[in-house]
């Protein structure tokens, strides 16, 4: 059983630096000046220790588009970004709407071994929104799927959505909704507003998201099912969630926000560079500020990356032909620090809450998002809170190169990531 000694870390950024001794997969001891025999000693220089990050929303593109990302390259990016668990979305090719595909993705994750890869199962067959996929079979598979989503597509038929919420209730499943009323976003290319109008891009109106969120909150309340709202992007959605959560019988509704929706606005569209194209689209200043506030006060539960790598030819083209999505795993922490920690909206405990604890709770993981304490699983990330770093595409492990943050300076750098006591990333390098 290997032993790792982390020297000079500050759990959640508070108090004097301490040492953390990890024995096998578990935190054995925390205290000042630990002097134990260890197979590896990591000198962390006062880094903040947090539970390893959990991403509820990752696109690994395998199977089908291994030229854009694989379970292996996505896992590398995740480890470098401080993640110890990721949920791989179902919109692969073929779609992860059956036990065979989810078990394949799960097995590839185990083989790579850098991060726990939890496949998300499709809600409907082929993501078509017409017929429920075999949700129970995916749940009973070795992958033990618990989160279901047609992400990329909205489950827009209210009856299908109702049935999904009802059906998954029996085995504690979560329906993660890509909230987008398709009739209102037909042909949409950018946030509906002044910039889209000026640039001649068909608008994606905020109510297309808000109407589905409101509807699904009501359905979740009615059915007692568990609903998770993916990538909330508008001020109005935050208001609806705030209203819903203020009710006594609110039911189980959670929500995530992406790092890019916390930082970027549709002002970036001027060059028509599709690296900025994402669905839901980059919104306006008021939306960004509202989302930050909603994340700070718990209205929005967590950060999820919507890491969406694409092959070069799918982005280096005209705007309307480009696929939506941007890289997120390796830049998420820096953006959260910049938009939430530096302005005082979240402290490091809050970062642990939104990037690790709440996503683990939402997905029902019992070994992730745990306290940094003796006896707990050693799924950890160490963060240098003072480090400023420049995003360089060459340092991003994803096969895709579609990061809008390229060249941007971000605060807060991952020093090390540990999955069940084993270093998976250290000083910018993946550790096998």
């Amino acid at each position: 059983m290997s032993r790792v000694l982390l020297k000079d870390v500050r759990p959640y950024g508070a108090g004097e630096p301490v040492d953390v001794l990890i024995n096998g997969e578990v935190i054995a001891e925390i205290g000042p000046g630990l002097n134990a025999d260890a197979d590896e000693i990591v000198h962390a220089g006062g880094a903040v220790a947090l539970p390893g990050f959990v991403d509820l929303h990752t696109h690994l593109r395998e199977p089908g588009r291994e030229d854009a990302e694989t379970v292996e390259t996505g896992s590398m990016a995740a480890a470098l970004g401080g993640y110890t668990a990721v949920f791989a979305m179902a919109n692969t090719d073929p779609v992860a709407d059956n036990a065979v595909i989810v078990e394949h993705v799960w097995r590839r994750g185990r083989e790579v071994g850098l991060v726990d890869v939890h496949p998300v199962g499709a809600v409907t067959v082929g993501l078509k929104g017409e017929k429920l996929a075999e949700l129970g079979t995916m749940r009973r598979s070795v992958a033990e799927v618990r989160v279901f989503s047609d992400d990329g597509h909205c489950v827009h038929d209210p009856l299908i959505m109702r049935r999904a919420l009802e059906y998954t209730k029996s085995f504690g499943g979560v329906v993660a909704q890509h909230a987008e009323e398709p009739r209102l976003t037909l042909g949409a290319q950018a946030h509906e507003g002044a910039n889209a109008a000026r640039l001649g891009l068909a608008g994606w109106p905020a109510p297309a998201e808000e109407a589905i969120v409101a509807r699904d909150c009501l359905l979740a309340g009615h059915t007692g099912g568990t609903l998770h709202i993916c990538h909330v992007s508008t001020e109005g959605t935050a208001e609806i969630l705030r209203w819903w959560k203020s009710r006594e019988s609110a039911g189980r509704v959670s929500a995530e926000v992406t790092p890019h929706h916390l930082l970027l606005t549709d002002d970036r569209l001027d060059t028509y560079d599709p690296v900025n194209k994402v669905n839901p689209p980059l919104r306006g200043d008021a939306d960004v500020l509202a989302l930050r506030q909603a994340l700070a006060d718990g209205t929005v539960d967590c950060v999820a990356t919507d890491h969406a790598p694409h092959a070069a030819q799918d982005k280096d083209c005209e705007w309307s032909a480009a696929k939506p999505g941007m890289l997120g795993l390796q830049t998420a922490l820096g953006i959260v620090v910049q938009t939430m920690v530096r302005p005082g909206l979240l402290d490091w405990r809050g970062v642990a809450r939104v990037m690790s604890e709440r996503p683990a709770e939402i997905a029902g993981l019992t070994d992730q998002g745990r306290p940094v304490a003796a006896g707990e699983p050693a799924n950890l990330v160490l963060v240098d809170p003072e480090a400023e770093w420049t995003v360089r595409g060459a340092e991003l492990a994803s096969l895709g190169e579609n990061s809008p943050f390229e060249g941007m300076q971000l605060p807060g750098r991952v020093v090390a990531t540990l999955l069940r006591g084993r270093l998976t990333a250290h000083e910018g390098k993946v550790r096998r």
């Binding site: 037909l186 002044a194 001649g200 608008g203 280096d316 083209c317 705007w319 309307s320």
Partner: protein
């Protein structure tokens, strides 16, 4: 001027210079039996059209040929584009083959900007001949040239743009250019055909045409772009025509000097009554004619890079 992608990029001096050059070229060629200037001899101009077009494409081709450029037409349906070649690869092929200038018409907004980005290094210049719902700058320039001929200077003139603003690249280009030249612009359309955010364009937005007519110096009718519509923008062609069609009664409500423009192709009977389209108040064929001279001027500015004098 490196490329011509948008009228938003044109300052008043550049816009005026282009219009003056077009006017000079027009006067120079007036009455000539052989309409040929040697100015762009040896330069290669490619028209790359991903959408059907007659007037714009022919206009550019004639403009290039009258300037003695070698003009090569590439259409999406009869080129490697039809085999699935990307716009980027097509662009790089054209640059490698020696194109000095690529004139692009494309259904995607921003495609001309993307093309310019890919071709910058090669030194190939790009003219936007209409990109999706974004802009059609040479159309706006030819409209301005036509209005100048009919009305004189545009500063202080009040011009209405009427119809399908939502899908109209012509409207976007015209709003920028007319405002740059000092005109007041009023946009008139049903609310469903006004883009959210158009109130930031610096033009007034109105939904009723009749009260505007007596105040106008010019009215630009737009084509209702059924091919871009996914349904339900207005109840029926008849209702649209009743509310926004430019018929003879409405023509009578305009001041005597006011001019009628339409970028074509026209939906006669719906957007504009045949008698109005064919009336002396309409400058529609004059627009087409001026299109050649304006495009000559643009090619001249981009490829010859100097002022032309009479």
């Amino acid at each position: 001027m490196r490329h011509l992608l948008s009228t938003e990029d044109l300052d008043v001096a550049t816009a005026t210079s282009l219009l003056d050059t077009a006017d000079t070229l027009k006067q120079t060629l007036l009455g000539r039996e052989v309409k040929k200037l040697p100015t762009l001899r040896g330069r290669t101009v490619v028209t790359l059209f991903y959408e059907n077009s007659t007037r714009t494409r022919v206009s550019f081709e004639v403009a290039g040929k009258w300037m003695s450029a070698d003009v090569i037409n590439v259409s999406a349906s009869s080129s490697s584009v039809g085999k699935g070649e990307s716009l980027r690869d097509t662009a790089l092929t054209l640059a490698a083959a020696g194109a000095d200038c690529v004139i692009i018409r494309h259904p995607a907004s921003g495609s001309a900007h993307r093309l310019a980005g890919w071709l910058d290094e090669a030194g190939t210049q790009v003219i936007n001949a209409g990109d999706g719902m974004h802009e059609h700058p040479t159309q706006a320039l030819l409209d301005a040239a036509t209005l100048r001929e009919r009305l004189g200077e545009l500063a202080g003139r009040r011009i209405a743009i009427v119809g399908d603003l939502l899908h109209s690249r012509v409207a976007r280009s015209n709003v920028h250019l007319l405002r740059t030249l000092g005109a007041e612009v009023v946009l008139v359309a049903p609310p469903t055909l006004v883009p959210a955010g158009a109130q930031h364009w610096g033009a007034e937005v109105r939904h009723e045409l009749d009260p505007e007519l007596p105040k106008l110096d010019a009215v630009m009718m737009l084509r209702v772009q059924a091919e871009r519509m996914h349904g339900g923008f207005f109840p029926s062609a008849r209702e649209y025509s009743i509310a926004y069609g430019l018929n003879e009664a409405r023509l009578g409500m305009l001041p005597e000097h006011a001019v009628v423009l339409h970028p074509g192709p026209m939906l006669r009977g719906m957007e504009i009554a045949p008698a109005v389209a064919d009336s002396p108040r309409a400058a529609i064929t004059q627009q087409v004619s001026n299109g050649v001279h304006v495009r000559m001027a643009v090619l001249y500015h981009l490829l010859a890079g100097e002022e032309i004098t009479a």
